[in-house]
């Protein structure tokens, strides 16, 4: 029976080379060749400077910007070097406290907005890095952003639509608005 130990050791070594070196190296080579932008994080550049990733959200609290999903990463929100969810259970009093505080902040940001707040705008995402909000959550914030930037609601709405993705093939996933690219577009339109 001991004689199986030798092939076990050799097999592990060879499998490590095959699946742990050659396979990732091959995937990396092909990925960099075929999809260099996607393979390196779908980074966004502005005047030669990296300003984020198309797929990673950023924290916003200025009323001139659309706000994204609350983030539970630490120590700062949207910490893309340490993803994390809140892991709060449905009955945890901390969940109620946090959601109530977010509702208050949103209502203070726009007291004239009487629509009910969409639930995704006051609940943390799974990754803490969610780049998207629902179209309803963008709509809720639209009058505020338009007012703060002296833009017409129609104008902002057009931008929101440009940064909204529908369901893939009309079926898969959920419609969503990319908060970072939308805010970058707002800044490009009306420089501060």
């Amino acid at each position: 029976m001991i004689k199986e130990l030798k092939p076990a050791l050799w097999m592990l070594l060879l499998m490590s080379v095959l699946t742990g070196v050659l396979y990732p190296a091959l995937v990396t080579g092909l990925a960099q060749l075929l999809f260099p932008h996607e393979a390196t994080g779908s980074l966004l550049e502005n005047n030669g400077q990296t300003v984020g990733s198309n797929l990673i959200g950023q924290p916003f609290s200025d009323p001139r910007y659309f706000w994204g999903r609350p983030s539970a990463t630490s120590p700062m929100p949207y910490n893309a070097a340490a993803s994390s969810g809140s892991n709060l259970g449905p009955l945890n009093p901390a969940l109620q406290e946090a959601v109530e505080a977010r509702i208050t902040a949103l209502k203070e940001s726009d007291p004239s907005q009487k629509l009910p707040i969409p639930v995704d705008l006051v609940t943390t995402s799974a990754s803490g890095l969610d780049p998207h909000i629902s179209p309803a959550a963008a709509l809720w914030q639209l009058p505020r952003v338009a007012r703060m930037r002296n833009m017409s609601e129609q104008e902002v709405k057009q931008l929101v639509q440009q940064h909204t993705a529908g369901r893939t093939f009309g079926i898969l996933g959920e419609p969503r608005v990319n908060v970072l690219t939308l805010n970058l577009a707002l800044d490009r339109r009306k420089p501060q």
Partner: protein, 602 residues
Amino acid sequence: MTINGYLQLILYVLVLLLLSWPLGLFMAKIYGETLPGSVRWLSPVERGLYRLCGIRQHDDMSWTRYAFAVLSFNLMGLLAVYLLQRVQVWLPFNPQAMANVTPDGSFNTAVSFATNTNWQDYGGETTLSYLTQMLGLTVQNFVSAATGMAVMAALMRGFTRRERDGIGNFWVDMVRSTLYVLLPLSLVLALLLVSQGVIQTFSPYQSAQLVEPVAYEEPVIAPDGQPRKDEKGQPVTEKKTTKEQVIALGPAASQVAIKQLGTNGGGFFNVNSAHPLENPTPLSNLLELLAILLIPSAFCITFGRFVGDVRQGKAILVAMTIVFVALLMFCVSAEQSGNPLFARLGLETQASDQAAGGNMEGKETRFGIVNSALWATATTAASNGSVNAMHDSFTPLGGLVPMWMIQLGEVIFGGVGSGLYGMIVFALVGVFVSGLMIGRTPEYLGKKVEAFEMKMAAVVILTPCLAVLIGTAVAVVSEAGRAGIANPGIHGFSEILYAFSSAGNNNGSAFGGLSVNTPFYNILLGVAMLLARYWVIVPVLAIAGSLAAKKSIPPSAGTLPTHTPLFVVLLIGTVIVVGALTFLPALALGPIVEHVQMINGH
């Protein structure tokens, strides 16, 4: 649920079953004598591997020798992953200078990946170097999956062979599973995922300029390396502002592909497939979801074809699909109904074309409710354990589905290979019970099911149950166990129960709030994972050996047909009865009580 919700679920199940058919037939050939023509060009690599390792391809192993080969190979893998973590700081491909992992943490992760559990006590992007991810985890993702597939191949031979000692050669089964099934599928899937935005690079983490600088509180670290605390025991923090976002990168796609296909589930990042760079779009989500159940589902067809009657495999696949769809609908509706708290606070929680609504705490916008609940059900039906939403934040009944799915013993699709061999053990118990009822010697696929098989079946079914319940009990009564709880009240118990269910059935998903990176949990959960894997594999191989040595008897009038709807019901009944009897009391103390509390508005 919306019409679109139904469409997404139907599409998923249909595509899954359609893809399983050709793959299943292909896999039946690679475990046979002659390789299919499409992969024969790779066979020089296969033979080269045997030559270098001194393996004789046609060496037929007895079940004890087969088991010894499995155990020694898995032990080597476990030691390799342990060592890699312990010395990673001195090795290359560590651009973020990740420190060496603690001994108990390394043990837990090594066990976790060798046993195909892929429980994560660590956050990938804050703990592991690129080298450890590739040479440690990716390798085990392949070979632990291939181990499960090999054991299943051996069990199939138990049914087809007559009066033979051998059940095949582990090295051949393992190498063929890797070379002809896992590697090609992973390569294709990895590239498809990169096209969607999953990263694959060796660059260090990337720094980006934030559009709006962010203020935050940073914990102050005392000179001894621990967070400083004030007189009340609260952590001391200082106000800071940053204009930068550091984005973690790495060779993720190659690992994500095999983590899904091999029902491993250990994520490249802390939040697994909820991370936008691990699962960026609805399409990547569908591809990863299909990969979770593809091989387990295809294996049913493989089994049917291998034993010479595809209907046998189809019956098992139908039983799995029925249970899966039923629990899936339950989970989606629980999450869509959401948390009454959100409605009380005046939020908009209705699903529409403008928002997913429901319980969005711990879920990503692009996946919404339907894809998060679908993933939770699929990943726990299979022993995958990757997540795209935080199970800890699910509603009580929404969280009950993944928990119970695991507790059913990971046989509803289950792990690659391991799901089907577990299910076949349940089938043996099913025919045994019904055989007793009609007063005939029970038989399955022409083999008599006798005392030895039943003893082994009992070990297979009861070991994970014991690991789960005893582990939970120990953790609940000990100080170190309760210290890890994140959520107060009943939910804290659910966190512990989920952790041991997951480890004790080699799933790997978690109610992630529980702090498990402590010596207590690392060791206890590590032991549970070892028991659940090898105390199942060895008895299954024993059954294979015992069946192979038996004569094959032709079906008679007294034989219970095992491809009929009646058998499907019998099989589902056996699985559900065992799962319900064993775990209903514990579930009643956890998610069920919590649900009652929730609807009463506590």
